[in-house]
């Protein structure tokens, strides 16, 4: 897939699986849309603040990690939410200008804006 694609999906490498299980993460749900200007990625990370958000870019691999805030004090009588932090990895399309990626977090939704480089934006050429 030649977009902001999922790096981990598809292949199962037993060796990698083992290292992944050393620390468990929750895989956040994401929406990805493409516009003329670039891609917009939204990830659901409830309980994560700006300080708990860690976005790393290594070559064309983007890793988003969200650390949850502390659990409330008191006894947990009933618990459905998971304590593990969030993590998801994406392979970026070469058309993305990685230096211009920006991120914000609002009410547990991380929004990443990934602009396309000038040269790949569609251009209108008028015939003179």
């Amino acid at each position: 897939m030649n977009t902001v694609s999922q790096k981990e999906e598809g292949t199962v490498n037993p060796q990698r699986l083992q290292t992944e299980t050393e620390r468990e993460y929750v895989r956040p749900e994401v929406n990805i849309v493409e516009t003329k200007e670039g891609y917009v990625l939204e990830a659901e990370m409830p309980g994560v603040t700006k300080d708990g958000l860690d976005i790393g870019l290594e070559e064309n691999v983007l890793t988003i990690v969200g650390r949850r805030g502390p659990a409330p004090t008191g006894n947990a009588l009933y618990r459905e939410s998971r304590a593990a932090d969030f993590r998801r990895v994406f392979e970026l399309d070469p058309s993305i200008e990685s230096g211009k990626i920006s991120a914000r977090i609002e009410q547990g939704i991380v929004t990443l804006t990934l602009p396309k480089a000038e040269k790949v934006k569609p251009r209108k050429i008028t015939v003179g």
């Binding site: 468990e24 749900e29 409830p46 805030g69 947990a76 009588l77 998971r82 939704i109």
Partner: protein, 143 residues
């Protein structure tokens, strides 16, 4: 193993043309065609019950909270944002629409003193326990 299992779940659900379940529903699928279901936690200390629900990306005014005969009900709707013209969707995993959760409270609470906050996509409802529900110490005089 969890991440692998999740991948399988997603593929399974997508095969039916609709993503069922949610992050808070590890079994997936039980909310099939019924909206979505946020994960809910209940905590208690000496004086209060605390109900927390994971509701990322909501507007405060779209969340409803009610108390009726010992049940706390959380409901609301997560609405789709206006799609930009010419935008193409690559992934659409976030669940939209109505949700509804009813939680049976383990003890009596003071309805007038219930407080709710919504921060970082988490709704927190604090319910002070009724006097009769609080643990009591009975002084015993030793003779």
């Amino acid at each position: 193993m969890t991440s692998l299992r999740e991948d399988v779940d997603n593929l399974f659900n997508l095969a039916f043309g609709r993503v069922a379940g949610s992050s808070g529903d590890p079994d997936g699928g039980s909310q099939f065609l019924e909206g979505w279901s946020p994960a809910v936690d209940v905590y208690e200390d000496k004086d209060n019950l605390l109900v927390r629900a994971e509701l990322p990306g909501m507007k405060k005014e779209d969340i409803e909270i009610s108390l009726h005969e010992g049940f706390l009900t959380l409901s609301g709707e997560r609405k789709a944002e206006q799609k930009q013209e010419g935008a193409e969707t690559y992934r659409s995993e976030r669940l939209l629409g109505r949700f509804h959760r009813s939680i049976s409270l383990p003890c009596a609470v003071v309805p007038d003193k219930i407080k709710a906050t919504y921060h970082d996509g988490i709704l927190t409802v604090s319910l002070p326990k009724a006097e009769e529900a609080k643990p009591k110490q009975i002084p015993i005089s030793v003779q």
